[in-house]
Amino acid sequence: MSHRPNQSESSKAQREADDAALVQAVRRGDKRAFVEIVTRHQAMVCGIAMGILGDFAASEDAAQESFLTAWRKFHELREPSRLRSWLAQIARNAALGHLRRKRGHESLDEVPAMADESPLPDEVAANDEEAELVRRSLARLPETYRLPLVLYYREGKSVRAVAETLDISEDAVKQRLARGREMLREEISSVMDRVLTRSGPTAVFTMTIAVAIGALATPAAIAGAVFATAAASSVTTAASVSTSPLLTAMSTSKTLLATAAVIVVACVPLGYHLTTSTPPEQPASKSQPTIHPVTSPEKRTPDFENSVMFAEWRQLHDVHGRTADAMPAIYEAIGKLGDPFRRKAFYTALVAEWAQLDPALGLKFFFEKGRNGGHRQQFFDEWLMLDPAAAVKALQEAGPGWENVARQSLVQIALRLPSSVPGIVSQLPKSQSHWDTTVRDAFAIVAKNDLGAALRAAQEISGPNRDSAIAGAVQFWAQTDLRAAIQWAKSLPDGVDRDEIIRAALIGKASVDPVAALELANSVPPGGRQGYFADTTGARILREAAKADYEATAAWIASHPGRFGNEDLLGMAEETTLRMNADIIGFLQKRVEDGSFAALRPAIESALLNDAGSQREGVWEWLKAQPSNDATETLKRNVLSSAAWDDPALAMRLSAEIPQTPEGDERIRSLASSLMNSEGGLNRFTSLLANSPERLRQPIIEAAFQRLGWDRTADPQLWISRLSLLPESGRAKGMESIARTWGTQSPEEALGWVSTLPVGDARVSALGAVASSWAKSDVLGTANWINHMSPGLERDRAAESFATVIAERSPQDAWKWALSISDSGGRTRAATEAAERMIPRDASTARQWVETGPFTDEIRSRLQALLAMRQP
């Protein structure tokens, strides 16, 4: 029967392995690894010191001394996995040494429980009455009971940790804890918990050690400091810390040679970094750290590479304290800082510190009403990194707003505590964002760990996120076995969006094997939402495929013409943009060579209209050397129109290159139309006209009046004043446009203006335009007005416009209005409109109209053809 380690055993083994790895790193000269050791074990080391000394300040001094001793004697540690016990022993010795120095050379065994009962310095809650109460109470306990108690609270209330540290059994720890508590007064217990838990060492402690060992200096500076100290042989306390092992080691010539060899090797990497590691603007002298042990809070102020920020950070702690209790005050103090950068930076650091010191209360604080959402999110993320299980549990119990935090961090939760994801997802509401893929992404990660479990868990989820969860797991699965994933998706019960699951499978596959996914892309409906950019199945698959292998994707598209529509191909736009911006000619040339140029045109055009807009001129130049065909001509038009929208100056420059041919004239008119149809086109009419080449002027004026007819906000009076820009032959159209826009704004005023026009065709057209605009917003009002008009051309034109507008809604009414028109041309046009609308609705009525209506032979046969297409 094999031994299966339980959780505590395995976590202990893991910790020992981690310790061993850190020890190896330190032995390789990695000072940052030592800082990590400090971070991991400072609570224990300070706890032992506190347990022996019973004095918060003195215990930190002793703890610092312990770590510095450990640093000096690191080579003496024979079993890296026993690091914790070794540090505990050093801590004990250091604390006892402190005690000895304070009380003279008494026998350690004779040391009474507590030595110093004088008032405490102003740190670590020292001014707090509770701290004083705890200190005095602890003083009454023998060390046998005091040490386990202190360690218990400092080590996260872990009996096992205390047992390991003191090298006694867990039962023994429990007994001593119970006995110790009994010996204290009942009322002190809760205070003890609070004070000892929150008075643990903070990051400032860690950083102080880090600075003292030079771990935060640049390599060049470390080297400089070490050798400057050695050369000077100055026997300062600081120097003795770093040089005494060296000097000791030099006692024999063999050792001297070995030491010299080690130094040569050690200095190679230092020299390697020497040229660049020191920022040029920083004088070398500034970056030389002073290595010295810290013996008192006053002397502990680190220069930290002359870091102003660290000094301010430390100052905040000096003023407000370093315990969890001090966190709200520091938070408030940071809020009052004037410099936004510091405010942001210190908030960030404080949130992290708080998550280390007292995550439960910290989370409560950040979940209070009105707290900063970003800080709340970061707080959870920090805690999640430190203790995923506790953080997730606390979040789920945090109250209103937890879902948002969970959703934001879901991917991280999936990475750190995948087992919790299904439970969280079950409780999350449906996302308000169409683009939110958090649940899907998280489940893809969960599936990476255990696909079967992820699929089962996803299916068991209740609530609106079930399909997304299944999709996430399937997305991962499909990367290795697309067909199996699709087959499984097809077997899912009703109520699951099977098509969306299959889409996820295809998207997953596209990310590793584009061609395999593309082959099956149209096995599901388009999905997505109308009006959303590149939201179809094809677009989503193409987006992933292009990211994974653009060339293979383009080649596949080239060899499968017509398999994707324009909307699908927009999925390629993002990757296309990157490539166009990197090398436009190379990109286009490649598309011609692999035959994908025509097929990829929608993506290229989208890129040109957006983030590859600066490539328009390059594309234009390249196009000039290409043979004329559908694709190149369409792209030319696109370059012109997109330039007209985004960069009118370029559009006008390019217009000079348009040939003086009928086709060229048509292109110029199209360009003018694009200029006017662009954002704010009518607003920039004057400036465009002023800057346009002669050939473009008239087309711009005509395009402006054409555009005016569809604008609902243009100023009619302004455009009346511009009518003279039009040639005589174009004025009637111009007036019609003005009437149309005015009719949408104020039909009564528009009619008032039209009535001032001379009787004739222009006035008739203008009246028709007003009727058309008005009918769109007020059918009854318009009908009433027309009914009161005198018979004649004006009334006929108004009725024709009206009938055309209402034909979509009510072909029958439109038909009646059409038949009321005297003018045969108008009657035919209106009747045709009504009949065309009636054909898809009621073919037999439409047929009757077509047979008896006022149509020309040509129109009648066209309508009959339309009818024939719709009838069996």
């Binding site: 940052r32 690894a33 990590e36 990051a203 950083m207 080297a223 050695a230 042989s233 001297l256 010299a260 060899a261 130094i263 040569v264 200095c267 190679v268 230092l270 020299g271 020497l274 040229t275 603007e281 930290f304 950070w313 950068f341 930076a345 960030t348 970061q378 996302s431 308000q432 964002s433 169409h434 098509d499 388009p526 999905g527 199945t537 529509g565 490539r579 911006n581 957006n610 807009g613 600066s614 490539q615 985004d646 662009s678 954002e679 704010g680 920039r684 906000t713 104020s746 009564e748 917003s777 007020d778 009854l780 979509e808 809604r809 609705r841 009621d842 297409m869 719709r870 009838q871 069996p872």
Partner: protein, 555 residues
């Protein structure tokens, strides 16, 4: 003496070690010295292009030892230590370090924010140049990181030094997103320097992006007359609209009558906007004075400004405002006023406004009012939430015209947010209540998700709409799954009246597709003769018809 000797030996050893390391560094650095001599901006951009994954045997040059060190330190740290390491790195970072540091920070939003702020603080031009280089040369850095850096830079640098960023934009020449950057900068400048911002927006023709109006409000409060004149002299679409609304609101606080006089002396939509804004704010502050003023005004002014008055009035007393509208306005002015009134009422209490609509007699005004309430009550386009049951009940209770107008207004967003409930609602409506637009949009949206269900749904609609909706759904289906769609069509009974119209519509639609030739060629041979018949009956240029028919020729 012995000690001195030993120290000398050790110092020499150290020196040798340092020299070897230095030499190695120099050797590796050699190619970089050329790069360093080049443009710092390009170098930074190159830095952004390198991904850490390419390290190893052919590792790229260490362009930022500080970042390398930080990356290593962070990998061994946790909690606050990480942030103190970040502080240390950020304080010591030179501009050249930032591209690498940003890469390290890209998955840590808080670090990204700190770095970005610092980069902007110490070298906004460097960040600008780096981003321009990225835009010009492409990058493997994720677009969201580039987007986030750009947004922060344009936002913060514009606030700090608008002239500098304008100069940078001018000097940068053409690059991909230049227009977007100019627009964002102009929008931001309006907030800090309204005159400069409005002038830029007019010059750059930025007319569809609305800045925050706080800066304009402050500026207008100081001298509303000047602000109004300036804004009118630099028109720029909706920006000027919003500016005039803000200026009007401010002017009304001090001298509404003067403001209205000024507006009356101008012409055009912006002057009208100004007048409306003045009256709206005035009626909020002093309803009686505002309504007295309007009652005494000429009929044209009354018609034009009635909507503004009642919008505010409706928030206090919707029924009273409605009475006033009924007795004072007519025609399109009445419709506009009802719209304004309902807007105000719906903002205060959408359910009460809906009740008010229900109490009106069927009319165009009621339809307009219903539409205004629906705009507030139904989900917006990007909202992913269902329609409230109370809203559905209210909509079902409206007269035919009002229901049709409301549906025309909300179908698009409703279909996106919750197409099933829309389809369910429409399936029990008559042709008089729903336009083709609503039926067809719903059919298309359904077809995107489940084409078969969409076809079935269309077939249950009133006979005069079933074909049209079916065609819309079928085309959507064929667009993405032509084979499946054709197969389904073939499976219909020969007597099914849908066969011919669906096929005809699909062929007509595909004929306008850029890939029409390929798509038609891919049709099953059995369907090609019918397709040719459709194309022969279409009104298209002969040259195109010939090409399409050629694609349908069976070899």
């Amino acid at each position: 003496m012995k000690v001195l000797f030993k120290i000398l030996v050790l110092t020499l050893a150290a020196g040798v070690g340092l020299a070897v390391g230095f030499a190695l560094r120099r050797n590796q650095s050699f190619p970089n010295t050329e790069a360093e001599a080049g443009n710092a901006t390009v170098e930074s951009a190159e830095g952004l292009k390198h991904e850490p994954k390419s390290r190893g045997k052919s590792a790229p040059l260490d362009d930022s030892p500080l970042a390398t060190q930080l990356e290593r330190d962070l990998s061994m740290s946790q909690g606050v230590t990480r942030w103190l390491l970040w502080f240390d790195a950020i304080e010591r970072a030179t501009l050249a370090d930032f591209p690498r540091l940003i890469r390290i920070a890209k998955n840590t939003p808080a670090a990204m924010r700190l770095l970005t702020d610092r980069w902007i603080e110490i070298g906004p031009q460097h960040l600008f140049d780096t981003l321009v280089a990225v835009a010009k040369g492409g990058t493997q850095l994720s677009p969201d990181v580039v987007g986030s850096l750009t947004k922060s830079l344009l936002d913060q640098w514009t606030k700090l030094d608008p002239k500098a960023i304008l100069a940078a934009l001018e000097a940068a020449g053409d690059f991909g997103p230049r227009e977007d950057w100019c627009r964002d900068v102009a929008v931001k400048i309006v907030e800090v320097n309204p005159e400069m911002g409005l002038r830029l927006m007019a010059e750059w023709h930025v007319s569809n992006y609305i800045p925050r109006m706080t800066g304009i409000a402050k500026w207008a409060a100081e001298n509303p007359g000047h602000a109004a004149e300036f804004a009118l002299a630099h028109p720029s679409g909706i920006v000027t609209e919003r500016a005039m609304e803000t200026i009007g609101g401010e002017w009304a606080k001090t001298d509404p009558k003067r403001a209205l006089e000024f507006a009356a002396s101008q012409h055009g939509r912006y002057a009208s906007t100004l007048a409306n804004a003045v009256l709206k704010e005035w009626s909020v502050r002093d309803l009686k004075a505002a309504s007295d003023w309007l009652a005494a005004a000429d009929s044209r002014t009354r018609n034009n400004l009635g909507a503004a008055l009642v919008e505010s009035w409706a928030k206090q007393d919707a029924a009273g405002a409605l009475d006033w509208v009924d007795s004072n306005l007519s025609g399109s002015s009445l419709l506009r006023a009802v719209t304004g009134l309902m807007k105000g009422a719906a903002e205060k209490d959408v359910r009460a406004a809906a009740q008010l609509v229900s109490s009106l007699s069927p009319s165009t005004a009621r339809s307009q009012a219903a539409m205004t309430v629906a705009e507030k009550w139904f989900p917006e386009f990007s909202e992913n939430k269902p329609v409230e049951p109370a809203a559905l009940t209210w909509l079902a209770s409206l007269d035919n015209d009002s229901m049709r107008v409301v549906l025309d207004e909300v179908t698009w967003s409703w279909a996106g947010a919750d197409v099933q409930s829309l389809a369910h609602f429409l399936s029990s409506r008559t042709s008089d209540q729903v336009s083709d637009h609503s039926f067809n949009t719903t059919a298309r949206e359904l077809a995107r998700k489940n084409p078969l269900a969409a076809m079935e749904w269309a077939n249950t609609l009133p006979a005069d709409r079933a074909t049209s909706a079916g065609e819309a759904a079928f085309w959507e289906w064929w667009h993405s799954q032509p084979e499946a769609a054709i197969t389904w069509l073939g499976s219909l009974a020969s007597t099914d009246s849908r066969r011919k119209p669906l096929f005809s519509t699909a062929i007509r639609n595909v004929s306008f597709d850029p890939n029409a030739v390929q798509r038609l060629a891919a049709l099953p041979a059995s369907e090609k003769p019918a397709a040719m018949e459709v194309i022969r009956g279409m009104q298209i240029p002969e040259e195109r018809r010939t090409r399409l028919l050629a694609a349908l020729q069976v070899p």
